[in-house]
Assembly symmetry: C2
Amino acid sequence: MAKKGLLIVVSGFSGAGKGTLIRKLTEQHDHYVLSVSMTTRAPRAGEQDGREYFFSDVPRFTEMIDQNGFLEHAVYGGNHYGTPRAFVEEQLNAGKDVLLEIEVQGALQVKGRFPEALLIYVVTPSVEELRRRLEGRGTESKEVIEKRLKRAVDESDALEAYEYIVVNDDVTRCAEEIHGIVQGARCATARNKSFIEETRKALHEAFDH
Amino acid sequence: MAKKGLLIVVSGFSGAGKGTLIRKLTEQHDHYVLSVSMTTRAPRAGEQDGREYFFSDVPRFTEMIDQNGFLEHAVYGGNHYGTPRAFVEEQLNAGKDVLLEIEVQGALQVKGRFPEALLIYVVTPSVEELRRRLEGRGTESKEVIEKRLKRAVDESDALEAYEYIVVNDDVTRCAEEIHGIVQGARCATARNKSFIEETRKALHEAFDH
């Protein structure tokens, strides 16, 4: 069966708790690693280069685009964001499951280039809960909150592009659910084409006589 | 999310241990129930009506076919085999996950009628191991063994019709793997269309203003 790691894309409503879920997974199972995105936006207080993001200037970022150095990249609020390709490929080849927390737009780019990528979408238990969580942070302006809600509406139209949808009603339960999805996905026939081909060949060789 | 149970079709090489795996699942998790097939073949020593099979005569069987009483049915070795529909539907509506152990031909019939059915194929770790297990039973003639091996070759051509493939190298491990697949499948967007539709509608109603 597949020995390479899985590329796992986690998207979801802003405020659905994607970051917490991903942290939980990497803490509880050591075959998960987190891909760190690169951005041209300025670091915020407390952010550390290589932890929240790799911080880059625009010329270096666009040079990496030209060199096909990103799995996906996009512009949000006037800043570039991208997933450096080399780290992801190294980790997958080492058998690690790589978690990407990215937006729908980037997720679709990744799926186009890595058809075997596993796309999971995280939602809150309800729309009211989504609003409550966004407002509950207390760190964002009313305008930012409305913008995020609006984005949730837009994104919900792309939900079927994801193979799996999980409801984050409880972080521990939901992280285990994602873990189960990953375990199951490893057995998907669509991700085991060469194993199936080998089995078929061995059977034919052994018994077609 | 989906509250109805899942219909789980387990097929696989003869000798791959499907029966043992299914028994293990029903023993360890009480949301699994086993569908018992109906057949027109005579009971063997030790077989009990309603446990291994429901035993039927041909007229009653064909009457049930006419009344659309089977999810799938087929003829093997001159005998009818079929999955009674009523039991499966009752259990699914009660939220139980129903396990069907059937051949490829029946599995494809089920998938045609229940597109949300989950199809899992069980293989042995290797072709040599398949031969060893079939011969190891010691209960079958050389002719029967060769026939089963031949069927494995034929069936391997239909493997891609299954969503998942599992290697039964260890019954406990493999049963847990199937359990993980079922848990994951419950979150598949393809099996949660109405949940997604409702979420989308609620978002649009709340924020399109």
